[in-house]
């Protein structure tokens, strides 16, 4: 019986010009967004790889100089563009693309792509994620708001129920019918998506990318299922199809537009972001508490001198086998690390708490849960940006340590400034970044899936309950 209802529902939709037109539009948008995402990601990924090589070349060919000058010259780290970003670009446009790694300072990421965009960008990117999060739910609503209410308006509901069809079967059948119609739309797009990912990934990331894609699909199935359930529930509950449509549209607007923005503002109010000046001043203040290796009058420098001489068992600085400058520089860097670690942990903690508030708002808007989950699976969420920032900072410390160690080891010379060459720069290893694996991301983001599961369960239960208590007129 359920299958028969589903078939009737599906046939009806397939014959409906409105459905065919809107489905065609959504399908074209999905396909176009995948194609564009693929091209864009390929271009950006190639640029960043090329830039990574170029910055390495610049580092190696910087010429003879003092290693501390080399540390000031530094290197850039370019954020890799993740293969799945072609489906969901996440916050990529709002995080910088490159960070400068130099002595004494942990820098912020520069060049947010959104800054180079016109006001149009603020309306949102045309990504597959946006289509799935905003447009497909709307399509579901437009498909299924008349499911019960429309039949009641037409008087066919009385007929169907008089045949002895159980209302629950009716609801299930209709849900299946809508799901089949949707599958007709989403399955080809998904296949296209998998192909695109296959082309975008390299051999090493593919085993990680496919599970990510599969999990992402699970998230979207739960999310879209919620809309099917909610549409049927409202359709069964409402007195007329007009009322059903208006209620569902109100839900759609709240879910997609109002709650996401409201929750951002609430999050910011609960956990305010400091201004960049405030943040910079706090770091400067902390750094000033530490030792300044460039300031010969610094008292802590004298303490360090005494300690190093004692460690090496000599009475005078001149008798040291190592160059004291290298040790002093490293010592002041180490102090800086503690400051940066603490301050950035604080800043990122604020961001994380803001994100938590937004995720909590997913109880009012499933879009927030699916958005957070989808970005996380695509590797384009704020957390994985911070993961890269941490890796870049760790690499900065490797560069600086190499330079300072080299000064300590070889810098001890007769009066003139120590100059090192290419062989010293080559000792710094290449920057290798491995993004966190799918299991680590899932371990962090399963609550989003749980929330989506909860939404689906709730909306299905509501649909069944509403269907079984349905009034015929």
């Amino acid at each position: 019986m359920i299958a028969r209802i589903a078939r009737k529902e599906f046939t009806e939709m397939a014959r409906d010009g409105r459905f065919r037109a809107s489905a065609a539009v959504v399908l074209v948008l999905l396909a176009a967004s995948i194609a564009m995402g693929w091209a864009h990601r390929r271009e950006v990924a190639a640029q960043h790889r090329e830039a990574g090589r170029a910055t390495r070349r610049q580092w190696l060919e910087q010429g003879a100089k003092n290693p501390h000058s080399a540390a000031h010259y530094g290197m850039y780290a370019f954020k890799p563009k993740m293969p799945l970003s072609l489906i969901d670009p996440g916050v990529d446009a709002y995080t910088g693309v490159a960070v400068w790694l130099e002595a004494h300072k942990q820098n912020d990421f520069k060049y947010r792509p959104a800054q180079d965009a016109t006001a149009l960008a603020r309306f949102g990117e045309l990504s597959s994620a946006a289509v799935l999060q905003l447009l497909v739910p709307l399509l579901i609503i437009l498909l299924s708001f008349p499911a019960f209410a429309g039949e009641r308006d037409l008087g066919t509901l009385r007929q169907v129920l008089s045949l002895g069809v159980r209302p629950r079967d009716l609801a299930l059948g209709k849900a299946l019918g809508v799901a089949t119609a949707l599958a007709l739309l989403c399955v080809p797009s998904a296949v296209l998506g998998v192909l695109a990912i296959g082309l975008a990934s390299d051999v090493y990331s593919l085993p990680d990318d496919l599970p990510r894609l599969a999990l992402m699909a699970v998230g979207y199935v739960l999310y879209l299922g919620t809309f099917v359930g909610a549409s049927l529930a409202v359709s069964a509950w409402s007195g007329s199809s007009r009322a059903a449509l208006l209620t569902l549209l109100a839900f759609w607007v709240a879910n997609g537009l109002i709650v996401p923005r409201l929750s951002v503002d609430v999050a910011r109010r609960l956990h305010p972001t400091p201004s960049s000046l405030e943040f910079g001043q706090a770091i400067d203040r902390d750094i000033k508490q530490g030792m300044n290796a460039h300031d010969p009058a610094d008292r802590r420098l004298a303490d360090l001198k005494a300690r190093v001489m004692k460690e090496h068992g000599v009475g005078r600085l001149e008798d040291l086998k190592v160059d004291f400058a290298g040790i002093a520089l490293q010592e002041s860097e180490e102090y800086g690390y503690r400051v940066f670690d603490a301050r950035y942990a604080e800043l990122w903690g604020t961001y994380a708490r803001q994100d938590e508030v937004q995720r909590a708002a997913a109880l009012a808007s499933p879009l927030l849960a699916v958005r957070s989950f989808s970005m996380a699976m695509a590797g384009t969420d704020p957390e994985q940006h911070r993961d890269f920032a941490r890796a870049a900072e760790a690499y900065r410390r490797v560069i600086i340590k190499h330079m300072n160690d080299d000064i300590a080891e070889h810098g001890k010379g007769p009066g003139v400034e120590y100059i090192a060459g290419d062989d010293v720069w080559a000792k710094v290893p290449d920057f290798e970044y491995t993004p966190p694996g799918v299991s680590r991301v899932l371990a962090r983001r399963w609550p989003d899936l749980a929330v989506l599961g909860g939404w689906l369960a709730l909306s299905s239960a509501a649909a069944v309950a509403a269907a079984s208590r349905i009034r015929v007129s």
Partner: protein, 479 residues
């Protein structure tokens, strides 16, 4: 007759609970939007004030240290010496070039939260200060702000559609239309009366509420051109609202049922407010792509590496070109490092200038294309016009950046000769350090663009209304 229909419709609306609810919801959104916008304004003002305080404190310390120093003694730390112009220009005496929030920023944050508004001036290349951003959680930037601009562009049309999707169809479905038309009145007059009644009420409410909320949020009416900007704001809101009323009228004139009307109108809303801007964005970025910033970074690096390698040569050449700046035999400050650095920076600036100009040029060309294509979506026209009126647009940011450039040049003109002459900075010189004076983007440069936008909204609105009234001829009153 028209007036009588309008009065009747107002009475019906006043009695309708849904209408009152919708108006209450609009009021809540407007209030909350302005509340959020003014939070942004407070943040920006606070950040600028903190920067000014920081600047005053540093300059005071500098003066104090300069006064305390023994003119004959060499300072213990040369890179902190308040008498060295390079030190004053590049660290201790740096001044900020800051922009206050736009005149109506409390109403529309627009692009302002993406752009830096405070730069610390230096004698080094523009690249060293121009990339300082405000820090912000990227997920906040992604979601965007709930400001009044958002309410106007996204939610206001929905409210209009909610009030007028069944303008005519409901009367027909309830059977009252036939009854009304049995009176000596034309269908066109009835429809026009109903639309005008609703439009007058809703537009007046929307404009009144935004202005009131803006005033409550502390909008400075005495500020230059603020009343005129408010007037333009009202004009844009009215034109945008008129477009949606006209669309509702045209769809009602097709003669379908209420539910179908609602579906058509929502689909139009999605197409014009959500999909079209995204498609336009795709068109603009693929027709006029901005060169990658990544290659800019690499170009700057190569230029600086080359300039540093030729540092001493560049310095020698600098003095050949500027013999008047060559220091006297017994230069008082042996700051060779700083002079060399300055010569290198100058060379880097010259090398990367064309690269930077290419970016700015391409961005401007992109914006030109947007200016032309925006008319394809009333939402884009409105958003851009509101950003322009509020002073939160890309154009205003570019106007500010041009002033920052000017200030940078003034800064360099003041400091570089002193650095290259290896002069000592006298206490009196502190008063002569250039200061940044922000000039607001004049309304005269904003007005024509906004007027264009209003016309771009009014023409399709009038066309839709005319088409709708024309289609009413074939309207079937029953069935």
């Amino acid at each position: 007759m028209l007036a009588r229909i309008m009065r009747h419709d107002w009475r019906c609306l006043a009695a309708d609970r849904t209408a009152r609810l919708l108006v209450a919801v609009l009021a809540a959104f407007v209030g909350y939007g302005v509340y959020n916008g003014s939070a942004w304004v407070r943040f920006q003002r606070g950040a600028v004030a903190a920067a000014m305080e920081d600047q005053e404190r540093r300059l005071a310390e500098l003066r104090r240290d300069a006064a305390a120093i023994d003119p004959k003694a060499e300072p213990p730390v040369s890179f902190l010496d308040p008498r060295t112009p390079g030190v004053v220009a590049g660290s201790r005496g740096q001044r900020f070039a800051a922009a206050p929030p736009g005149p109506l920023a409390a109403m529309d944050v627009g692009q302002a939260d993406l752009y830096p508004f405070c730069f610390k001036m230096t004698n080094r290349t523009k690249q060293t200060f121009i990339t300082t951003d405000e820090i912000e959680n990227p997920s906040n930037l992604l979601a965007g702000r709930f400001d009044l601009g958002f309410v106007v562009v996204y939610l206001f049309p929905l409210l209009i559609l909610g009030l007028s999707y069944d303008l005519l169809s409901a009367e027909r479905e309830q059977g009252t239309l036939a009854m009304t038309l049995s009176q000596p009145v034309r269908l066109r007059t009835v429809v026009l009366g109903k639309v005008l009644a609703r439009a007058a009420l809703i537009l007046a409410l929307a404009v009144g509420m935004s202005v009131l909320a803006g005033l409550l949020a502390g909008l400075d009416l005495s500020g230059p051109e603020v009343p005129a900007r408010l007037g333009l704001w009202a004009l844009v809101v009215v034109a945008y609202g008129a477009f949606w009323f006209a669309l509702a009228l045209a769809v009602n004139a097709l003669g379908r049922g209420s539910a179908t009307n609602a579906v058509i109108l929502v689909a139009s809303w999605i197409a014009l407010v959500v999909v079209a801007p995204a498609l336009l964005n795709v068109a603009v970025t693929s027709l006029r792509p901005v060169p990658s910033r990544v290659s800019l970074i690499l170009a700057i690096r190569d230029a600086s590496a080359e300039a540093s390698a030729r540092g001493s040569n560049l310095l020698a050449r600098y003095y050949e070109d500027h013999p008047e700046l060559a220091p006297a035999e017994a230069a008082p400050v042996p700051a060779d490092f700083l002079t060399k650095l300055q010569a290198v920076q100058g060379s880097v600036d010259r090398t990367i200038e064309p690269v930077m100009a290419r970016y700015d040029d391409q961005l401007a060309r992109q914006q030109d294309l947007v200016d032309r294509l925006r008319f394809l979506s009333p939402a884009v026209v409105t958003q851009e016009a509101l950003n322009d009126v509020s002073g939160t647009s890309l154009a205003r940011q570019r106007f500010f950046l041009a002033q920052v450039d000017e200030f940078h040049r003034a800064w360099q003109d003041f400091f570089i000769p002193r650095i290259m002459r290896r002069e000592r900075f006298a206490p009196a010189d502190f008063d002569a350090i250039p200061e940044f004076q922000f000039r607001e983007q004049p309304l005269a440069s904003v007005g024509p663009r906004v007027a264009e936008g209003v016309i771009g909204l009014a023409i399709p609105a009038l066309a839709l209304a005319a088409l709708g009234l024309l289609a009413l001829r074939r309207y079937r009153i029953t069935g």
